[in-house]
Symmetry: C2
Subunit: 204 residues, 2 copies
């Protein structure tokens, strides 16, 4: 399993990811070039990674791919209530880590993504939509050879307050999680969570 | 872009998806054979599909892959609060459609998955975990050449009551959504939702 992005992909990244078809709202996704990891492989091999290679930053191209993956999520009534805060350099990460004493892992990670929801746009569904955004980001990270871990913020009020203060979020923007991301240090294996007893056919 | 599962993959499906390494909790994911769609391609090409090829059922092997994909989601404190109800034949689907007058699309789809959460296992996070489960299922469907659409149930109390009654769910099991699934009829294009103004670097 190669984890490198093809040169073609890297070149394409400086342009656009989609080729628009006229003035409509629909697009043709690019078919190849970013990663050769299969979709199901990424889903089954995704795991929580909490150890990162020190001093190895995540390329801006990969950051943008993760953000684009996040915003490709479905959303209730197409309201797209997400906002994303990205911490992408050591200095910013250290400042963030200092503000969030519960999130020590931030001192080790080269970057982090905070997925937030706009509750004015989607009061009852923002946290559901933003969870789908987060899963897309985690899978994109896996496919790009990165490691990441979903550390929950919402609905814990204390954590929401702490992260909101650290990031200076407006009152209607709620942080769902903090996702440290980097190149995995060491081997990390996915858990096998398959449990057939949780499947119910045609009735409970 | 081929959408067929390799013969090797289909053969493997009758066995196990994971090769366990001894008695530990970790596993080695299978690397190939199920689909050749790239992870990022699946993420960017996923779209809501509401028209399905009539009388073309979804193969049991693909159903199980979607369920396995769902249960590969992360969960807060590893509580895995998900339960999944699968409707997989015409007769069961028609009965379900009759019970849920708001979900007319069920009369057209060959199958549906209802992702539920166990609020006793994870009172404050089940709907977040189950949203990640759902996104994995939608991406697996896309990768397997299927179409699907997330129709929300929770947190709308009226819908929760209706679906719970139709499925005979215990009180502590809450339905998050109903996902009709089938082979797409016609062409369906993903929306381009990328919006750079929703990205904030190193501060709000």
């Amino acid at each position: 399993m190669k984890k490198t992005i093809g040169m073609l992909g890297m070149a394409l990244l400086s342009g656009v990811l989609f080729s628009c078809n006229g003035g409509t709202n629909t697009t043709e996704p690019m078919k190849t070039g970013y990663t050769d990891m299969e979709a199901l492989e990424a889903i089954f091999s995704r795991k929580s990674v909490r150890q990162f290679v020190a001093d190895r930053p995540v390329e801006q191209e990969k950051i943008e791919l993760m953000l684009r993956a996040g915003m490709a999520a479905p959303s209730a009534m197409d309201r797209r209530p997400w906002e994303i805060v990205v911490f992408s350099d050591r200095e910013s990460m250290d400042q963030l880590a200092e503000s969030l004493p519960y999130a020590k892992i931030l001192t080790q990670a080269p970057m982090a993504i905070v997925v937030c929801g706009d509750r004015e746009k989607s009061e009852h569904n923002w946290y559901i939509d933003c969870s789908a955004v987060t899963q897309n980001i985690l899978l994109a990270a896996e496919a790009l050879g990165l490691g990441a871990v979903w550390t929950g913020v919402y609905p814990g009020q204390e954590r929401v307050d702490l992260v909101s203060a650290a990031l200076g979020l407006p009152e209607h923007i709620i942080p769902l999680n903090v996702i440290p991301i980097g190149y995995p240090d060491g081997e990390h294996q996915p858990k096998d969570k398959w449990d057939e007893s949780k499947v119910h056919y045609n009735k409970w």
